[in-house]
Symmetry: C2
Subunit: 412 residues, 2 copies
């Protein structure tokens, strides 16, 4: 265990500076290929596994899907993959048949480079919608990249768009490890957004188990964050496991099934929170916990609606304990709600909670104490619905003038 590593939860410890190349057998690298308008940035990245992987993906629910995503969805249908090729600077979306041809070409170039079937290559593109990929530059990029066991951080940098920092994490458990990277800080929303997330693992795992674990992990992480309630056509989460840690493949009932699920959930939640923390223009992260909801879906809807509400986002930014907006968001969520049984708490910097609202009526509280709850970089609130046992947590960013400035000037 390296210096700085820590046990996160029983049997799972974090790997400092961990990334997609932390699990054994995964190599990565990136190049400045000139796809971006800013030539001095990495913009084409590769991940390669020395052994074939079982793989699974979760994709945007936007009816408009990027061409690279469409090709990846087809490649991943068989449940395996061995490499990933990504470009930033261009989403390869809304560009007709040529987009599909270009994405297939990216897979072919990557397959040729590593001597693998192009159908084992996952392709992803992120950036502006409606422009063609500069295939000559992408080809040169793919050809020049040298992949290595310490290339994960370069890969994390190559996929950034308006992200201000690379986002990565890795954990280790019971002889196997798992690493992940993500990009995306705008158009982030429940049901995914302009995000790309790649998770690698050296555990041996069956494909159906991997696919199920990914879906659950995404539901509790990427599908519970919101920056601006938008969903992009390129959102993708892909997990690949190469089995180099050995042992019987993990499946339902395997001794490691729970820790693998927990590790995937930890990796996805950690990356999701990194996205929110780096949200375009944001100054704060909002964590909304809903408890006592009638159903799990109600808890999820209410928690998400809180972090999606522009009224809440701006009030948090202004450190204004305008709690009516939070309760109104819950009412607006479609979740079953009774005013008489609903209560709202803000977490104070001292760890104590301030109750602003309970039993359908405002509570007497110190306005300065309430305001102080909104001062930290991470603002936490909790709503108890008093209707059942279900709970959920969602994370969002505040909304600032800088968000507006960044987004009113993106392509120009």
């Amino acid at each position: 265990m390296e210096k700085g590593a820590g046990v996160i939860t029983e049997g799972i410890e974090s790997v400092p500076e961990g990334t997609v190349t932390t699990p054994r057998g995964f190599l990565a690298g990136a190049a400045k290929a000139g796809v971006r308008s800013d030539w001095d940035k990495l913009d084409v990245g590769l991940v390669y596994s020395e052994a074939p992987c079982v793989a699974a993906g979760v994709y945007t629910r936007n009816a408009l899907k990027g061409a690279s995503l469409l090709v990846s969805m087809e490649h991943l249908e068989k449940g395996s993959a061995q490499a990933i090729v990504v470009n930033a600077g261009c989403a390869n979306c809304s560009v007709g048949e040529r987009g599909i041809e270009d994405a297939i070409k990216m897979a072919q170039l990557t397959g040729t480079k590593f001597g693998i079937d192009p159908h084992e290559v996952v392709v992803a593109s992120t950036g502006v919608i409606g422009t063609f990929l500069p295939m000559d530059r992408i080809r040169r990029g793919i050809e020049t990249i040298g992949v290595s066991a310490d290339g994960g951080m370069d890969f994390a940098r190559a996929i950034m768009t308006t992200d201000t920092r690379p986002k990565h994490v890795a954990v280790r458990a019971n002889g196997w490890s798992m690493g992940g990277v993500v990009k995306g800080v705008g158009m982030i929303h429940p049901n995914m957004a302009t995000m790309l997330c790649f998770v690698t693992a050296d555990a041996a795992v069956t494909q159906p188990f991997l696919a199920g674990a990914l879906k659950d992990a995404v539901d509790d992480s990427f599908n519970m964050i919101d920056i601006d309630s938008d969903t992009s056509p390129d959102d993708t989460v892909v997990v690949m496991a190469n089995g180099l840690a050995g042992g019987e493949p993990i499946d339902q009932g395997h001794a490691d099934a729970n820790s693998f699920r927990a590790a995937l959930r930890l990796v996805c939640t950690d990356l999701a929170k990194q996205m929110v923390a780096d949200a375009e223009g944001a100054t704060k992260t909002i964590e909304a916990r809903v408890e006592g909801a009638a159903t799990r879906e109600d808890a999820r809807k209410a928690a998400r609606e809180i972090v999606m509400s522009l009224g809440v986002k701006t009030a948090v930014y202004g450190q204004d304990p305008n709690w009516g907006r939070i309760i109104s968001a819950v009412g607006n969520s479609g979740a079953a709600m009774k005013e008489e049984t609903t209560a709202l708490y803000l977490s104070g910097p001292d760890g104590k909670e301030v109750c602003l609202y309970s039993g359908g009526v405002p509570q007497a509280y110190d306005p300065e104490a309430a305001k102080a709850c909104l001062a930290p970089r991470e603002v936490r609130m909790r709503v108890t619905m008093g209707l059942g046992e279900a709970s959920a947590t969602a994370w969002g960013s505040d909304l600032t003038e800088d968000y507006v400035r960044l987004n009113s000037l993106y392509t120009t």
Copy 2:
């Protein structure tokens, strides 16, 4: 016909400076009662009809409902009303049983003033959530207001919160007239928001017909606008018709049925667009027209999603023809969509359209011409889906730094 009046549509003409007191028999007035923190503003308003009215209402879908709204819903259940009492400065929401008692008291005071049954009084409150009504001030306000046939504009001013101007309209058709006022410029969203709208008419009309016509008019107007995708617990649209214009009550099949429906739709659409034009911090109105959708609901969803997208709102603010965000919003709406049959047009200041996207691919267009489409105060865009015959129009505001500033400082 006064100077300045104009025919809007066949048989219906606008009444310049028209408001809720334009129809005969409606009196209104307002007082500075000190409910608002800013004492120098009108904040309690009354409307009174000299004859009993048939009445109908449409209300917020927020599970959290203000106490005044709950009382009004009960009063309007019987389909009649004769007076309206409104206060700004306090939403009378999330304040428990006392909120209900206070709203009933407002109805009683108004009933006593006019010598009518308190159950014939519509009560509405708008402002900050979670504070109690200052009933002594409200009582004095109700008692001191003098209602008159030219008090409609004072009433329109008394209901304003962050509105920068009163919003009112009136039309006349075939011997009867209809007037309306509205307030609300933030928390505006499909399915209503922190808005109050009151429409009066001197036509004779049956209650079931009035209720049906109102529902349809609201669906095409207030339910098709968006400022910030929020919905408040107090949203209310109420229409009252006192029949003083005489004649057989308008019902299905009556010669005036279509013009009454058209007039109500015109009044509601005009007021809805006034709300969007006065949206908090906004510099522009966005009109999104969706045509050729597979179903009416698809057309409505797609049009609303465009005007709700923060990506679109900020791009319009920045006059940035980032059309991918518009197409992505359509894809995100849940409406059936095929890239190959979808096209996007921006309306130019010269009335000509610029096609940015068609058949699934970007079109060659002059970037300066596209940018010019986003320069006017009213930006218009049209998406053709190529899947059917259904169409819908939605209106939204752009999103600016000023919106953020206004909303991060509302209660403090």
